[in-house]
């Protein structure tokens, strides 16, 4: 009996027990899936940037308008071969929306014009308690040890439970073949394109961090987006949060987003 079959039987047996004894409610609610690595040794390169919990602070005060975000969005699209599909089935990793849509719980009719009319960047929040990871039936989306919520596009079955689960609309499904909407050759041949029928989203540029580079949008922001270790009291993000008023999207849901906005 090989290992994966044994572990399957273990989990299946546990599940049957949990169901028949009525503890399914407790068993199904909390917990996060962790990716199991295939045997062999994996280590981060010497150049890799490390953190206990990566987080982002976006200083929206320093962006004058939507055009200021354009280079950031373009950097993300180029870095990850994100196609532009001009309809409701678009693929979005880093995009803009209004205050009302970004922070629907905080909307107030008499908000100052500047705040109300500004555009705000949206991306995956890389939550500490991510509902998408909780609901994924195959662990195709999982939390890495540095807090990044990552995806395995080859394991995703395209059930879109994560899209229903994500309260931020951060996930996109490839309704169409994305390669048909990309130039040939693709902007960044070193990053994989996705296939039809899988979900994708922002990765906090985990692949760039591994090579010692900051995320593409952070680099393109020229200091207006900070990125660092939330658990390190001396990090840039922690100092910015200590010195400024910040908000997060839908904090009442308990997901603990890792993206902070300075307003």
């Amino acid at each position: 009996m090989n290992k994966s079959r044994r572990s399957f039987l273990k989990v299946a047996g546990f599940s049957v027990f949990a169901l028949s004894s009525g503890i399914v409610a407790q068993a199904a609610v909390p917990g996060t899936a962790n990716a199991k690595l295939a045997p062999g040794s994996y280590a981060k390169g010497d150049a890799a940037l490390r953190a206990r919990r990566w987080a982002m602070v976006i200083d929206t005060r320093k962006f004058a308008g939507p055009r200021d975000y354009e280079p950031l969005m373009e950097a993300c699209r180029q870095e990850h071969n994100v196609p532009s599909i001009p309809d409701a089935r678009n693929i979005k990793w880093f995009w803009l929306d209004s205050y009302e849509h970004t922070f629907p719980d905080d909307m107030n009719a008499h908000l100052d014009t500047k705040t109300r009319e500004a555009a705000y960047p949206l991306l995956c929040n890389h939550c500490s308690n991510p509902p998408c990871v909780r609901v994924c039936p195959t662990q195709a989306t999982y939390k890495m040890e540095d807090g990044i919520v990552a995806m395995d596009y080859h394991r995703c079955i395209g059930c879109r439970f994560c899209m229903a689960g994500c309260p931020y609309g951060a996930r996109s499904f490839n309704f169409k073949d994305p390669r048909g909407f990309l130039p040939n050759p693709v902007p960044n041949p070193s990053f994989p394109t996705r296939m039809i029928g899988v979900v994708e989203k922002c990765t906090f540029c985990a692949e760039r961090l591994a090579m010692g580079k900051m995320p593409a949008c952070v680099e393109a922001s020229e200091g207006r987006i900070l990125f660092g270790d939330l658990e390190d009291a001396d990090s840039k993000v922690r100092r910015a949060l200590a010195a400024n008023f910040s908000i997060r999207r839908k904090p009442s849901l308990g997901t603990q987003p890792g993206v902070y906005y300075l307003i």
């Binding site: 572990s7 199904a28 662990q139 394991r155 395209g158 439970f161 849901l253």
Partner: protein, 389 residues
Amino acid sequence: MLEKLLSAPKTYYVWLGFLLCLIAGCATVYWQQLQTGLSITGMNRDVSWGLYISQFTYFVGVAASAVMLVLPAYFHHYKKFKRMIIFGEFMAVAAVVMCALFIVVDLGQPQRMLNVMLHPTPNSVMFYDMMVLIGYLTLNIIIGWVTLEAERLGVEPPKWVKPLIYLSILWAFSIHTVTAFLYAGIPGRHYWLTAIMAARFLSSAFCSGPSILLLLVFLVRRLTGFDPGKDAVKTLSTIIVYAMCVNVFFYVLELFTAFYSQIPGHAEPIVFLFAGHDGHLAWVSYWMWAAVAMAFISLAILIPPSLRTHPVLLPLALVMLVAATWIDKGLGLLIGGFTPNMYESITPYMPTVREVIVALGVYAIGALVLSILWKIAIGVKQEAGNFSD
């Protein structure tokens, strides 16, 4: 018992042939979906589940509803259900097959679906759903087949099947509870985030499932002369009335919480479903109001015993009840869950013709499975003299 399929009137084979042609026709559209992806459906980034998942949800309820026959018969020794019970169990089998297929047609990468078992994930409700549905399918096939075989031989069913039957009763509740948990545990979807979801699912299932069963049994009575028994019909329609009353009551509870608390998130999906957006009714609003009307008319007919036993009014009320519950769960549940979307704005969704055709194909497969299983059951009942009073 399969030989019962060989001695059927010509019309039966014509019916099977028709279903096979229909399935083949719908399969070509599914083939197209495999080639061009789910872009042939009306789903989009904000409304990421649609008709397929809602049909899955509805038919889990239909499958679970077999318990409304099994429970009185085995827990309360209500013998008058015994003749009809096999039809409920076999309908559950057909319904679970449909559920599985509705999930498969909804997947973006269906060839990878076994990943759910290869990488079992106990924190995902979807994993449990797959497990409990497979379990329920197996239980109903075994129980149905073994008890039918016993009936054919004129003996009592073997003792070992009893524990399985008791298990299947609990299991029926579990499948629809787990299906409700798919929705009710998701933060940020206001329409779904309600503790009463599983109870609402069960009550809606326990009125709609037996209604579908009764309607189909009436059809079979016309076609073959099989008589389920007057008392059995009467008792089952009483169960349907109670379940429908509870179902409507539960919905009213939702309305109270949403509109008395006046928390916008709770009320907005319901307002959208019934009143649309910006003064314009959504297409689904017409359906929702039709559902409300049919729910109350069906109750008006079903509650007074004199009307409930009427040979024409009863089927009419059951049709309306099924339509009302189907609209609530098969349209409203998903559309209300995704609208307003994550940005508290409106992204419209309407199933496309091709999406409906693929769903129709799954319906046809369900009908095929049901026709085959019920034909066997009817054949055995005829042979065993358990056919009518």
